[in-house]
Protein backbone atom coordinates (compact mmCIF):
# COMPACT_ATOMS: atom_id res chain seq x y z
CA UNK A 1 0.00 0.00 0.00
CA UNK A 2 1.16 3.48 -0.78
CA UNK A 3 1.25 4.59 2.84
CA UNK A 4 3.75 1.97 4.02
CA UNK A 5 6.11 2.03 1.00
CA UNK A 6 7.47 5.39 2.03
CA UNK A 7 8.66 4.33 5.49
CA UNK A 8 12.24 3.56 4.42
CA UNK A 9 12.74 6.65 2.25
CA UNK A 10 13.15 10.02 3.85
CA UNK A 11 10.11 12.15 3.23
CA UNK A 12 10.52 14.97 0.77
CA UNK A 13 8.32 17.97 1.10
CA UNK A 14 7.93 17.99 4.88
CA UNK A 15 6.50 14.59 5.74
CA UNK A 16 3.03 14.77 4.15
CA UNK A 17 1.47 11.66 2.60
CA UNK A 18 -1.71 11.51 0.53
CA UNK A 19 -4.23 8.74 0.78
CA UNK A 20 -7.87 8.08 1.45
CA UNK A 21 -9.29 7.98 4.97
CA UNK A 22 -10.97 4.73 4.09
CA UNK A 23 -7.58 3.12 3.30
CA UNK A 24 -6.23 4.31 6.65
CA UNK A 25 -9.22 2.96 8.54
CA UNK A 26 -9.13 -0.36 6.73
CA UNK A 27 -5.40 -0.71 7.40
CA UNK A 28 -6.04 -0.17 11.09
CA UNK A 29 -9.03 -2.52 11.16
CA UNK A 30 -7.44 -5.42 9.30
CA UNK A 31 -4.12 -5.34 11.12
CA UNK A 32 -5.57 -5.34 14.62
CA UNK A 33 -8.52 -7.69 14.51
CA UNK A 34 -9.55 -8.98 17.92
CA UNK A 35 -11.24 -12.34 18.04
CA UNK A 36 -13.77 -13.83 20.38
CA UNK A 37 -12.27 -16.58 22.52
CA UNK A 38 -14.31 -19.52 21.33
CA UNK A 39 -13.14 -23.12 20.89
CA UNK A 40 -15.43 -26.07 20.34
CA UNK A 41 -13.51 -29.26 19.51
CA UNK A 42 -10.31 -30.61 17.95
CA UNK A 43 -9.68 -27.56 15.78
CA UNK A 44 -9.46 -25.54 18.99
CA UNK A 45 -6.35 -27.53 20.00
CA UNK A 46 -4.63 -26.55 16.74
CA UNK A 47 -5.84 -23.04 17.47
CA UNK A 48 -4.10 -23.16 20.87
CA UNK A 49 -0.94 -24.48 19.20
CA UNK A 50 -1.13 -21.60 16.82
CA UNK A 51 -1.38 -19.07 19.61
CA UNK A 52 1.72 -20.53 21.24
CA UNK A 53 5.22 -19.38 20.50
CA UNK A 54 6.06 -21.50 17.48
CA UNK A 55 3.35 -20.22 15.16
CA UNK A 56 2.50 -17.03 17.07
CA UNK A 57 -0.88 -15.79 15.93
CA UNK A 58 -0.52 -12.53 17.83
CA UNK A 59 1.85 -11.11 15.21
CA UNK A 60 -1.25 -10.56 13.06
CA UNK A 61 -2.39 -8.09 15.68
CA UNK A 62 -5.02 -10.42 17.15
CA UNK A 63 -5.81 -10.60 20.85
CA UNK A 64 -8.35 -12.95 22.40
CA UNK A 65 -11.30 -11.14 23.92
CA UNK A 66 -13.71 -12.91 26.21
CA UNK A 67 -16.75 -10.75 25.62
CA UNK A 68 -18.52 -10.69 22.25
CA UNK A 69 -19.09 -6.95 22.55
CA UNK A 70 -15.34 -6.32 22.35
CA UNK A 71 -14.58 -8.76 19.55
CA UNK A 72 -14.20 -8.04 15.85
CA UNK A 73 -14.47 -11.56 14.57
CA UNK A 74 -15.34 -15.03 15.72
CA UNK A 75 -13.58 -18.22 14.70
CA UNK A 76 -15.88 -21.22 14.79
CA UNK A 77 -13.37 -23.97 15.50
CA UNK A 78 -14.97 -27.38 15.69
CA UNK A 79 -18.22 -29.26 15.30
CA UNK A 80 -21.41 -27.28 15.78
CA UNK A 81 -24.18 -29.27 17.40
CA UNK A 82 -27.80 -28.17 17.58
CA UNK A 83 -27.56 -27.55 21.31
CA UNK A 84 -24.64 -25.19 20.65
CA UNK A 85 -26.03 -23.63 17.47
CA UNK A 86 -28.65 -21.66 19.39
CA UNK A 87 -25.94 -20.17 21.60
CA UNK A 88 -23.66 -19.35 18.64
CA UNK A 89 -26.51 -17.42 17.04
CA UNK A 90 -26.95 -15.41 20.27
CA UNK A 91 -23.19 -14.74 20.46
CA UNK A 92 -23.07 -13.62 16.83
CA UNK A 93 -25.96 -11.24 17.37
CA UNK A 94 -24.28 -9.82 20.47
CA UNK A 95 -21.16 -8.87 18.53
CA UNK A 96 -21.04 -5.26 17.37
CA UNK A 97 -20.71 -4.27 13.71
CA UNK A 98 -18.44 -4.54 11.76
CA UNK A 99 -18.03 -8.24 12.48
CA UNK A 100 -16.66 -11.20 10.55
CA UNK A 101 -16.83 -14.97 10.81
CA UNK A 102 -14.10 -17.48 9.99
CA UNK A 103 -15.26 -21.08 9.78
CA UNK A 104 -12.38 -23.38 10.68
CA UNK A 105 -12.25 -27.05 9.84
CA UNK A 106 -14.53 -29.29 7.85
CA UNK A 107 -17.03 -29.76 10.68
CA UNK A 108 -18.11 -26.13 10.67
CA UNK A 109 -17.69 -25.81 6.91
CA UNK A 110 -20.06 -28.61 5.97
CA UNK A 111 -20.60 -31.03 8.84
CA UNK A 112 -17.28 -32.80 8.40
CA UNK A 113 -17.03 -36.55 9.08
CA UNK A 114 -20.44 -36.39 10.80
CA UNK A 115 -22.39 -35.35 7.72
CA UNK A 116 -24.10 -38.67 7.12
CA UNK A 117 -25.43 -40.06 10.39
CA UNK A 118 -25.02 -37.13 12.75
CA UNK A 119 -28.51 -36.47 14.03
CA UNK A 120 -27.26 -33.80 16.41
CA UNK A 121 -24.71 -32.09 14.16
CA UNK A 122 -25.43 -28.91 12.21
CA UNK A 123 -24.11 -29.50 8.70
CA UNK A 124 -22.15 -26.30 8.35
CA UNK A 125 -22.26 -23.09 10.36
CA UNK A 126 -23.24 -21.10 7.27
CA UNK A 127 -26.76 -22.44 7.72
CA UNK A 128 -27.30 -19.99 10.55
CA UNK A 129 -24.72 -17.19 10.31
CA UNK A 130 -22.97 -15.61 7.28
CA UNK A 131 -19.38 -16.77 6.89
CA UNK A 132 -16.55 -14.68 5.41
CA UNK A 133 -13.64 -17.13 5.18
CA UNK A 134 -13.62 -20.94 5.14
CA UNK A 135 -10.49 -22.79 6.25
CA UNK A 136 -10.51 -26.44 5.14
CA UNK A 137 -8.80 -29.28 7.00
CA UNK A 138 -9.48 -31.80 9.69
CA UNK A 139 -7.88 -30.23 11.66
CA UNK A 140 -6.24 -27.53 9.51
CA UNK A 141 -2.53 -26.95 10.01
CA UNK A 142 -1.56 -23.74 11.81
CA UNK A 143 -0.17 -22.46 8.50
CA UNK A 144 -3.68 -22.87 7.05
CA UNK A 145 -4.97 -20.65 9.87
CA UNK A 146 -2.43 -18.00 8.84
CA UNK A 147 -3.61 -18.22 5.23
CA UNK A 148 -7.23 -17.84 6.36
CA UNK A 149 -6.33 -14.84 8.50
CA UNK A 150 -4.49 -13.20 5.62
CA UNK A 151 -7.52 -13.76 3.37
CA UNK A 152 -9.68 -12.05 5.98
CA UNK A 153 -7.23 -9.17 6.21
CA UNK A 154 -7.31 -8.80 2.41
CA UNK A 155 -11.10 -8.81 2.48
CA UNK A 156 -11.27 -6.16 5.20
CA UNK A 157 -8.72 -3.89 3.54
CA UNK A 158 -10.79 -3.88 0.33
CA UNK A 159 -14.07 -3.03 2.04
CA UNK A 160 -15.90 0.22 1.38
CA UNK A 161 -16.70 0.88 5.01
CA UNK A 162 -18.40 4.27 4.59
CA UNK A 163 -20.76 2.98 1.91
CA UNK A 164 -21.62 0.01 4.10
CA UNK A 165 -22.48 2.24 7.06
CA UNK A 166 -24.67 4.43 4.82
CA UNK A 167 -26.52 1.37 3.54
CA UNK A 168 -26.97 -0.06 7.05
CA UNK A 169 -28.35 3.25 8.34
CA UNK A 170 -30.85 3.44 5.46
CA UNK A 171 -31.93 -0.15 6.13
CA UNK A 172 -32.42 0.47 9.85
CA UNK A 173 -34.48 3.57 9.10
CA UNK A 174 -36.62 1.62 6.65
CA UNK A 175 -37.19 -1.23 9.10
CA UNK A 176 -37.79 1.04 12.12
CA UNK A 177 -41.24 0.93 13.55
Amino acid sequence: MGLLNKLDDPFEGGGIVMGTVEDLLNWGRSKSDWYLHFGLACCAIEFMSMNASHFDFMRFGTIPRTSPRQADFIMITGTVTFKMADRIKILYEQMAEPKYVISVGSCSNCGGPYWEHGYHVLKGIDRIIPVDVYIPGCPPRPEAFHEGMMQLQKKISQQAIFNKRKKLKAELKKNAI
Partner: protein, 383 residues
Amino acid sequence: MNDKKILELEYSTHDSDRMRINVGPQHPSTHGVLRLEVEIDGEIVTEVVPHLGYLHRSFEKHCENMTYPQITPYIDRMDYISAMNNEWPYVMALEKMMDIKVPEKVDYIRVIIAELNRIANHQIAVATFGMDAGAFTPFLYFFRDREYILWIFEKLCGARLLYNYFRVGGLSADIYPTFKEECLDVIKKVRKTNAEVMNLLINNKIFLQRTTKIGILPADVAINYACSGPVLRGSGVKYDLRKDETYSIYNKFDFDIPVGKGAAGILGDCWDRNMVRMDEMEQSCKIIEQALAQMPAEGDVKAAIPKKIKLPKGEVYMRAEGPKGDLGFYIVSNGSDKPERVKARGTSFVNLSVIPEISKGYMFADLILILGSIDIVLGEVDR
Protein backbone atom coordinates in the same frame (compact mmCIF):
# COMPACT_ATOMS: atom_id res chain seq x y z
CA MET B 1 -44.21 -33.77 31.30
CA ASN B 2 -41.11 -33.07 29.30
CA ASP B 3 -37.66 -32.53 30.77
CA LYS B 4 -37.68 -28.74 30.51
CA LYS B 5 -40.72 -28.53 32.81
CA ILE B 6 -39.04 -30.73 35.42
CA LEU B 7 -36.01 -28.40 35.49
CA GLU B 8 -38.15 -25.27 35.93
CA LEU B 9 -39.92 -26.76 38.94
CA GLU B 10 -36.60 -27.59 40.57
CA TYR B 11 -35.37 -24.00 40.36
CA SER B 12 -38.38 -22.49 42.09
CA THR B 13 -37.81 -24.39 45.34
CA HIS B 14 -34.43 -22.85 46.11
CA ASP B 15 -33.38 -20.25 48.67
CA SER B 16 -33.77 -16.74 47.25
CA ASP B 17 -30.62 -15.41 48.98
CA ARG B 18 -28.45 -17.42 46.69
CA MET B 19 -27.51 -16.59 43.13
CA ARG B 20 -27.51 -18.95 40.17
CA ILE B 21 -24.95 -18.15 37.52
CA ASN B 22 -23.90 -19.80 34.33
CA VAL B 23 -20.34 -20.73 33.52
CA GLY B 24 -20.15 -21.50 29.82
CA PRO B 25 -20.70 -22.92 27.30
CA GLN B 26 -18.62 -20.10 25.83
CA HIS B 27 -16.04 -19.48 28.51
CA PRO B 28 -12.27 -19.24 28.31
CA SER B 29 -11.58 -21.71 31.07
CA THR B 30 -14.11 -24.50 30.84
CA HIS B 31 -11.76 -26.44 28.59
CA GLY B 32 -14.35 -26.80 25.90
CA VAL B 33 -18.09 -26.42 25.61
CA LEU B 34 -19.26 -27.34 29.06
CA ARG B 35 -21.97 -25.51 30.93
CA LEU B 36 -21.82 -25.41 34.72
CA GLU B 37 -24.79 -24.04 36.54
CA VAL B 38 -23.37 -22.80 39.83
CA GLU B 39 -25.35 -21.72 42.86
CA ILE B 40 -23.32 -19.41 45.05
CA ASP B 41 -23.85 -17.89 48.46
CA GLY B 42 -21.69 -14.77 48.28
CA GLU B 43 -18.44 -16.24 47.02
CA ILE B 44 -18.88 -19.79 48.33
CA VAL B 45 -20.14 -22.44 45.94
CA THR B 46 -23.10 -24.37 47.31
CA GLU B 47 -24.14 -26.42 44.31
CA VAL B 48 -22.84 -27.26 40.84
CA VAL B 49 -24.98 -28.80 38.10
CA PRO B 50 -23.06 -29.71 34.94
CA HIS B 51 -24.95 -29.62 31.64
CA LEU B 52 -23.38 -31.68 28.91
CA GLY B 53 -24.17 -32.48 25.33
CA TYR B 54 -22.88 -29.37 23.59
CA LEU B 55 -20.49 -31.56 21.60
CA HIS B 56 -22.64 -34.67 21.24
CA ARG B 57 -21.65 -35.86 17.80
CA SER B 58 -23.55 -39.16 17.78
CA PHE B 59 -20.44 -41.33 17.68
CA GLU B 60 -22.32 -44.49 18.65
CA LYS B 61 -24.87 -44.07 15.88
CA HIS B 62 -22.05 -43.72 13.35
CA CYS B 63 -20.48 -46.94 14.61
CA GLU B 64 -23.59 -48.91 13.80
CA ASN B 65 -23.42 -47.81 10.17
CA MET B 66 -19.74 -48.10 9.39
CA THR B 67 -17.32 -50.98 8.98
CA TYR B 68 -14.73 -51.63 11.69
CA PRO B 69 -11.76 -49.93 9.99
CA GLN B 70 -13.95 -46.94 9.10
CA ILE B 71 -14.70 -46.35 12.78
CA THR B 72 -11.05 -45.65 13.74
CA PRO B 73 -10.98 -41.98 12.64
CA TYR B 74 -14.10 -41.31 14.73
CA ILE B 75 -12.40 -42.78 17.76
CA ASP B 76 -9.50 -40.35 17.26
CA ARG B 77 -11.92 -37.49 17.56
CA MET B 78 -13.16 -38.60 20.96
CA ASP B 79 -10.11 -37.63 23.03
CA TYR B 80 -8.55 -35.41 20.43
CA ILE B 81 -5.58 -34.39 22.55
CA SER B 82 -4.08 -37.88 22.74
CA ALA B 83 -5.56 -39.69 19.81
CA MET B 84 -3.12 -42.60 19.69
CA ASN B 85 -4.15 -43.82 23.16
CA ASN B 86 -7.79 -43.85 22.01
CA GLU B 87 -7.30 -46.16 19.10
CA TRP B 88 -5.33 -48.74 21.06
CA PRO B 89 -8.09 -50.34 23.20
CA TYR B 90 -10.42 -50.41 20.19
CA VAL B 91 -7.88 -52.20 18.03
CA MET B 92 -6.96 -54.54 20.91
CA ALA B 93 -10.63 -55.49 21.30
CA LEU B 94 -10.90 -56.38 17.61
CA GLU B 95 -7.66 -58.37 17.74
CA LYS B 96 -8.88 -60.28 20.79
CA MET B 97 -12.15 -61.26 19.10
CA MET B 98 -10.48 -62.26 15.86
CA ASP B 99 -7.63 -63.96 17.73
CA ILE B 100 -4.85 -62.14 15.88
CA LYS B 101 -1.38 -61.83 17.38
CA VAL B 102 0.59 -58.74 16.40
CA PRO B 103 4.30 -58.91 15.46
CA GLU B 104 6.76 -57.95 18.22
CA LYS B 105 7.99 -54.76 16.58
CA VAL B 106 4.42 -53.44 16.40
CA ASP B 107 4.03 -53.75 20.16
CA TYR B 108 7.18 -51.75 20.78
CA ILE B 109 6.19 -48.98 18.38
CA ARG B 110 2.70 -48.85 19.92
CA VAL B 111 4.16 -48.46 23.41
CA ILE B 112 6.55 -45.72 22.29
CA ILE B 113 3.95 -43.60 20.51
CA ALA B 114 1.36 -44.15 23.25
CA GLU B 115 3.83 -42.90 25.86
CA LEU B 116 4.84 -39.94 23.66
CA ASN B 117 1.19 -39.06 23.38
CA ARG B 118 0.81 -39.39 27.15
CA ILE B 119 3.60 -36.82 27.59
CA ALA B 120 1.91 -34.53 25.04
CA ASN B 121 -1.40 -34.80 26.88
CA HIS B 122 0.06 -34.08 30.31
CA GLN B 123 1.88 -31.09 28.86
CA ILE B 124 -1.43 -29.57 27.80
CA ALA B 125 -3.07 -30.56 31.10
CA VAL B 126 -0.43 -28.87 33.26
CA ALA B 127 -0.15 -25.88 30.90
CA THR B 128 -3.88 -25.13 30.95
CA PHE B 129 -4.04 -25.77 34.69
CA GLY B 130 -1.32 -23.15 35.13
CA MET B 131 -3.28 -20.76 32.90
CA ASP B 132 -6.37 -21.27 35.06
CA ALA B 133 -4.29 -20.21 38.06
CA GLY B 134 -2.96 -17.21 36.14
CA ALA B 135 0.46 -18.39 34.93
CA PHE B 136 1.03 -17.89 31.20
CA THR B 137 4.71 -18.82 30.74
CA PRO B 138 4.44 -22.60 31.35
CA PHE B 139 1.81 -22.66 28.59
CA LEU B 140 4.37 -21.34 26.10
CA TYR B 141 7.14 -23.66 27.32
CA PHE B 142 4.97 -26.77 27.16
CA PHE B 143 3.49 -25.98 23.78
CA ARG B 144 6.97 -25.43 22.36
CA ASP B 145 7.96 -28.92 23.53
CA ARG B 146 4.71 -30.42 22.34
CA GLU B 147 5.54 -29.20 18.84
CA TYR B 148 8.61 -31.49 18.76
CA ILE B 149 6.42 -34.49 19.58
CA LEU B 150 3.85 -33.51 16.97
CA TRP B 151 6.59 -33.24 14.33
CA ILE B 152 7.61 -36.84 15.07
CA PHE B 153 4.01 -37.95 14.59
CA GLU B 154 3.73 -35.95 11.43
CA LYS B 155 6.74 -37.69 9.93
CA LEU B 156 5.37 -41.04 11.10
CA CYS B 157 1.83 -40.96 9.79
CA GLY B 158 1.20 -37.63 8.12
CA ALA B 159 -1.05 -35.92 10.65
CA ARG B 160 -0.37 -33.64 13.58
CA LEU B 161 -3.40 -34.20 15.71
CA LEU B 162 -5.76 -36.95 14.49
CA TYR B 163 -3.76 -39.87 13.22
CA ASN B 164 -5.76 -42.95 12.15
CA TYR B 165 -2.49 -44.86 12.56
CA PHE B 166 -3.54 -48.09 14.30
CA ARG B 167 -4.81 -50.95 12.17
CA VAL B 168 -6.13 -54.37 13.17
CA GLY B 169 -3.01 -56.52 13.42
CA GLY B 170 -0.48 -53.71 13.24
CA LEU B 171 0.05 -50.16 12.10
CA SER B 172 -0.44 -48.33 8.87
CA ALA B 173 3.25 -47.59 8.23
CA ASP B 174 6.69 -48.45 9.58
CA ILE B 175 8.92 -45.99 11.46
CA TYR B 176 11.24 -43.74 9.50
CA PRO B 177 15.09 -44.06 9.72
CA THR B 178 15.83 -41.25 12.21
CA PHE B 179 12.92 -42.05 14.56
CA LYS B 180 15.09 -43.34 17.41
CA GLU B 181 17.44 -40.34 17.56
CA GLU B 182 14.57 -37.86 17.38
CA CYS B 183 12.68 -39.57 20.20
CA LEU B 184 15.75 -39.50 22.45
CA ASP B 185 16.28 -35.84 21.58
CA VAL B 186 12.67 -35.02 22.49
CA ILE B 187 13.01 -36.82 25.82
CA LYS B 188 16.05 -34.71 26.70
CA LYS B 189 14.10 -31.52 25.95
CA VAL B 190 11.05 -32.71 27.91
CA ARG B 191 13.13 -33.46 30.99
CA LYS B 192 14.84 -30.06 30.81
CA THR B 193 11.54 -28.17 30.52
CA ASN B 194 9.96 -30.20 33.32
CA ALA B 195 12.81 -29.26 35.65
CA GLU B 196 12.30 -25.59 34.75
CA VAL B 197 8.54 -25.74 35.28
CA MET B 198 8.94 -27.48 38.65
CA ASN B 199 10.84 -24.44 39.85
CA LEU B 200 8.73 -21.87 38.02
CA LEU B 201 5.25 -23.17 38.70
CA ILE B 202 4.82 -26.31 40.79
CA ASN B 203 6.87 -25.22 43.80
CA ASN B 204 5.89 -21.58 43.42
CA LYS B 205 4.42 -20.18 46.65
CA ILE B 206 1.47 -18.50 44.91
CA PHE B 207 0.60 -21.65 42.98
CA LEU B 208 0.83 -23.70 46.19
CA GLN B 209 -1.50 -21.35 48.01
CA ARG B 210 -4.00 -21.45 45.19
CA THR B 211 -4.10 -25.16 44.47
CA THR B 212 -3.51 -26.96 47.74
CA LYS B 213 -6.31 -27.87 50.14
CA ILE B 214 -9.06 -27.48 47.51
CA GLY B 215 -11.06 -30.06 45.61
CA ILE B 216 -10.24 -32.84 48.07
CA LEU B 217 -11.34 -36.22 46.73
CA PRO B 218 -11.27 -39.07 49.29
CA ALA B 219 -10.21 -42.45 47.95
CA ASP B 220 -13.45 -44.32 48.66
CA VAL B 221 -15.53 -41.62 46.97
CA ALA B 222 -13.23 -41.78 43.96
CA ILE B 223 -13.68 -45.55 43.67
CA ASN B 224 -17.45 -45.29 44.07
CA TYR B 225 -17.57 -42.70 41.29
CA ALA B 226 -15.35 -45.01 39.17
CA CYS B 227 -12.69 -42.33 38.66
CA SER B 228 -9.47 -43.45 37.03
CA GLY B 229 -6.14 -42.12 35.95
CA PRO B 230 -4.44 -39.23 37.75
CA VAL B 231 -7.75 -38.33 39.45
CA LEU B 232 -7.79 -41.68 41.26
CA ARG B 233 -4.03 -41.87 41.79
CA GLY B 234 -3.98 -38.35 43.18
CA SER B 235 -6.12 -39.63 46.04
CA GLY B 236 -3.54 -42.22 46.98
CA VAL B 237 -4.97 -45.32 45.24
CA LYS B 238 -2.14 -47.11 43.44
CA TYR B 239 -4.08 -48.42 40.46
CA ASP B 240 -2.81 -48.36 36.90
CA LEU B 241 -3.96 -50.73 34.16
CA ARG B 242 -0.46 -50.96 32.77
CA LYS B 243 0.61 -52.78 35.94
CA ASP B 244 -2.62 -54.21 37.37
CA GLU B 245 -3.99 -55.69 34.16
CA THR B 246 -0.94 -55.69 31.96
CA TYR B 247 -1.66 -55.56 28.27
CA SER B 248 0.70 -55.57 25.32
CA ILE B 249 4.35 -55.69 26.50
CA TYR B 250 4.26 -53.37 29.49
CA ASN B 251 5.50 -56.21 31.72
CA LYS B 252 8.92 -55.94 30.05
CA PHE B 253 9.58 -52.41 31.29
CA ASP B 254 10.64 -51.15 34.67
CA PHE B 255 8.63 -48.08 35.72
CA ASP B 256 6.88 -46.65 38.76
CA ILE B 257 3.27 -45.63 39.35
CA PRO B 258 3.25 -42.18 40.95
CA VAL B 259 0.51 -41.59 43.54
CA GLY B 260 -0.49 -38.54 45.48
CA LYS B 261 0.95 -38.29 48.98
CA GLY B 262 -0.47 -35.02 50.25
CA ALA B 263 3.06 -33.63 50.12
CA ALA B 264 2.07 -29.99 49.83
CA GLY B 265 -1.38 -29.90 51.36
CA ILE B 266 -4.03 -32.54 52.00
CA LEU B 267 -4.11 -35.91 50.22
CA GLY B 268 -6.36 -35.79 47.18
CA ASP B 269 -6.27 -32.06 46.48
CA CYS B 270 -5.67 -30.39 43.12
CA TRP B 271 -1.92 -30.04 43.64
CA ASP B 272 -1.61 -33.79 44.18
CA ARG B 273 -3.36 -34.59 40.91
CA ASN B 274 -1.17 -32.13 39.08
CA MET B 275 1.98 -33.54 40.67
CA VAL B 276 0.97 -37.06 39.60
CA ARG B 277 0.85 -35.79 36.00
CA MET B 278 4.29 -34.23 36.25
CA ASP B 279 5.71 -37.48 37.68
CA GLU B 280 4.01 -39.56 35.00
CA MET B 281 5.79 -37.57 32.30
CA GLU B 282 9.11 -38.64 33.81
CA GLN B 283 7.99 -42.28 33.99
CA SER B 284 6.89 -42.16 30.35
CA CYS B 285 10.35 -40.92 29.39
CA LYS B 286 11.84 -43.95 31.18
CA ILE B 287 9.53 -46.35 29.35
CA ILE B 288 10.35 -44.81 25.97
CA GLU B 289 14.11 -45.11 26.59
CA GLN B 290 13.79 -48.78 27.52
CA ALA B 291 11.50 -49.53 24.58
CA LEU B 292 13.83 -47.86 22.10
CA ALA B 293 16.76 -49.89 23.44
CA GLN B 294 14.87 -53.21 23.31
CA MET B 295 13.02 -52.72 20.01
CA PRO B 296 13.99 -55.21 17.26
CA ALA B 297 15.52 -53.50 14.26
CA GLU B 298 13.77 -55.67 11.68
CA GLY B 299 10.19 -56.79 11.60
CA ASP B 300 6.84 -56.51 9.90
CA VAL B 301 4.36 -53.90 10.99
CA LYS B 302 1.29 -55.68 9.67
CA ALA B 303 0.05 -59.12 10.64
CA ALA B 304 -1.81 -61.32 8.18
CA ILE B 305 -5.46 -60.25 8.37
CA PRO B 306 -8.42 -61.07 6.17
CA LYS B 307 -9.36 -58.52 3.53
CA LYS B 308 -12.71 -57.74 5.16
CA ILE B 309 -12.69 -57.38 8.92
CA LYS B 310 -15.57 -59.48 10.20
CA LEU B 311 -15.87 -60.25 13.87
CA PRO B 312 -17.42 -63.54 15.02
CA LYS B 313 -20.74 -63.22 16.80
CA GLY B 314 -20.16 -62.15 20.39
CA GLU B 315 -19.13 -59.25 22.54
CA VAL B 316 -15.99 -57.97 24.20
CA TYR B 317 -15.07 -55.24 26.68
CA MET B 318 -11.51 -54.01 26.40
CA ARG B 319 -9.85 -51.21 28.29
CA ALA B 320 -6.45 -49.52 28.31
CA GLU B 321 -4.75 -46.87 30.41
CA GLY B 322 -5.03 -43.59 28.56
CA PRO B 323 -3.47 -40.41 29.90
CA LYS B 324 -6.75 -39.32 31.47
CA GLY B 325 -7.59 -42.73 32.85
CA ASP B 326 -9.18 -45.99 31.91
CA LEU B 327 -10.77 -45.86 28.48
CA GLY B 328 -13.00 -48.80 27.59
CA PHE B 329 -14.84 -50.06 24.53
CA TYR B 330 -17.75 -52.49 24.66
CA ILE B 331 -18.25 -53.97 21.19
CA VAL B 332 -21.18 -56.24 20.32
CA SER B 333 -20.90 -58.01 17.02
CA ASN B 334 -23.55 -59.88 15.04
CA GLY B 335 -21.15 -61.63 12.70
CA SER B 336 -21.18 -59.07 9.89
CA ASP B 337 -18.58 -56.47 9.00
CA LYS B 338 -20.44 -53.68 10.84
CA PRO B 339 -20.82 -53.74 14.63
CA GLU B 340 -24.21 -54.15 16.26
CA ARG B 341 -23.39 -51.76 19.10
CA VAL B 342 -20.27 -49.95 20.23
CA LYS B 343 -20.31 -48.28 23.62
CA ALA B 344 -17.36 -46.06 24.40
CA ARG B 345 -16.79 -45.67 28.13
CA GLY B 346 -15.31 -42.19 28.03
CA THR B 347 -12.86 -41.49 30.85
CA SER B 348 -13.73 -37.83 31.11
CA PHE B 349 -17.47 -38.57 31.20
CA VAL B 350 -16.99 -40.59 34.37
CA ASN B 351 -14.34 -38.33 35.92
CA LEU B 352 -16.50 -35.23 35.38
CA SER B 353 -19.38 -36.70 37.36
CA VAL B 354 -17.36 -36.16 40.55
CA ILE B 355 -17.37 -32.33 40.18
CA PRO B 356 -20.62 -31.63 42.09
CA GLU B 357 -19.27 -33.66 44.99
CA ILE B 358 -15.84 -32.12 45.43
CA SER B 359 -16.49 -28.46 44.72
CA LYS B 360 -19.05 -27.67 47.43
CA GLY B 361 -17.89 -25.25 50.07
CA TYR B 362 -14.96 -23.75 48.16
CA MET B 363 -14.69 -20.32 46.57
CA PHE B 364 -15.90 -19.65 43.08
CA ALA B 365 -12.39 -19.09 41.72
CA ASP B 366 -11.39 -22.47 43.16
CA LEU B 367 -14.10 -24.15 41.11
CA ILE B 368 -12.25 -23.31 37.90
CA LEU B 369 -9.06 -24.84 39.29
CA ILE B 370 -10.87 -27.97 40.45
CA LEU B 371 -12.32 -28.38 36.96
CA GLY B 372 -8.87 -27.91 35.47
CA SER B 373 -7.31 -30.50 37.76
CA ILE B 374 -9.79 -33.19 36.64
CA ASP B 375 -8.48 -32.65 33.08
CA ILE B 376 -11.48 -33.31 30.88
CA VAL B 377 -11.83 -33.22 27.15
CA LEU B 378 -15.32 -32.64 25.86
CA GLY B 379 -15.03 -34.99 22.92
CA GLU B 380 -14.90 -37.88 25.39
CA VAL B 381 -17.58 -36.51 27.67
CA ASP B 382 -20.17 -35.99 24.97
CA ARG B 383 -18.98 -38.41 22.31
